[in-house]
């Protein structure tokens, strides 16, 4: 997003591969200093968009914890829902984050992308960036 106001962390990509027991989804985040953070999550052995969205969200949550760089940081995906609003599909995620000794109940949102895991990851980032000082 060259030309836009700076962010401290960026979504780079998500990827999924078939594992022995299901789909393994990974999400990669990038800081301006080029440090990269990868989170992984196992999804059910289905091609369900919602399952892959959730796996992307959980992988992003893991990557966000690493990127936060503060001991004791936790990010847990509580619930995820897909709705149709304003004529498009949108994913909303409910997240509980613990950061610097405080717990926060957060909501994130992302328009649905072609890749469901990317949608889940972006929804988690929108939930956590303000509290985890990653925006």
């Amino acid at each position: 997003m060259k030309g836009w106001l700076p962010r401290r962390i960026r979504f780079v990509k998500s990827a999924s591969e078939q594992g022995a027991d299901g789909r393994r989804v990974s999400v990669e985040l990038l800081r301006p200093d080029e440090r990269r953070y990868v989170g992984q999550a196992e999804g059910p052995d289905t091609d369900s968009d919602l399952d892959l969205t959730r796996a992307g969200a959980e992988a992003a949550a893991q990557a966000v914890v690493s990127a936060a760089g503060v001991d004791g940081t936790e990010v847990k995906v509580e619930a995820l829902e897909r709705v149709n609003m304003f004529g498009r599909d949108i994913v909303i995620v409910s997240v509980v984050a613990t950061y610097r000794g405080q717990s926060f109940s957060l909501f994130g949102i992302s328009p649905a992308h072609d890749d469901p895991a990317t949608t889940g990851a972006l929804a988690v980032l929108s939930a956590t960036n303000r509290v985890l000082e990653l925006s």
């Binding site: 829902e81 609003m85 994130g108 949102i109 328009p111 929108s126 960036n129 000082e133």
Partner: protein, 139 residues
């Protein structure tokens, strides 16, 4: 105008909101945003009474306050409120906003969400801030 350095990570904070009934089934909403480094930004918007109208008025007022923040920080950013709507998420009411933002001649569509509690003006203001914060470095 050259953009001045800003405070990365400094968050625009929601300070308060007020709904003021007016004559003729109208109401006024008032939203105040604060910056931790100093500065309060207040905006109002009028509209008809009723949830949908008040959500929209709250969205307009919040964006007007945010425009004051942007101006104070000398950021070349514009916002336009596209849609505001109440709906249900996770079995509870929520409010979603859609905003068009422009920076350096690039347009971007932003979405924000907040649970909708008894204070619908506050909920809408929080939804607007959640839409703009990741994009706006001072938010």
């Amino acid at each position: 105008m050259k953009e001045r350095p800003h405070h990365p990570g400094e968050r625009v904070r929601f300070y308060g909101a007020q709904r003021i009934p007016l004559a003729g089934n109208q109401c006024r909403v008032r939203v105040r945003l604060d910056l931790p480094s100093g500065g309060s930004y207040v905006a109002t918007a009028d509209g008809a009474s009723g949830l949908d109208h008040e959500l929209r008025a709250a969205g307009r007022a919040t964006l007007d306050a945010l425009r004051q923040v942007v101006k104070a920080k000398h950021l070349q950013v514009t916002f336009e409120l596209v849609e505001v709507s109440a709906f249900e998420a996770f079995g509870k009411p929520g409010v979603m906003v859609s905003i068009k933002a422009e920076h350096n001649r690039q347009l971007r569509s932003l979405l924000g969400f907040s649970p909708l509690d008894e204070d619908a003006v506050r909920s809408t203001a929080v939804a607007v801030l959640s839409a703009t914060n990741r994009f706006l470095a001072v938010a």
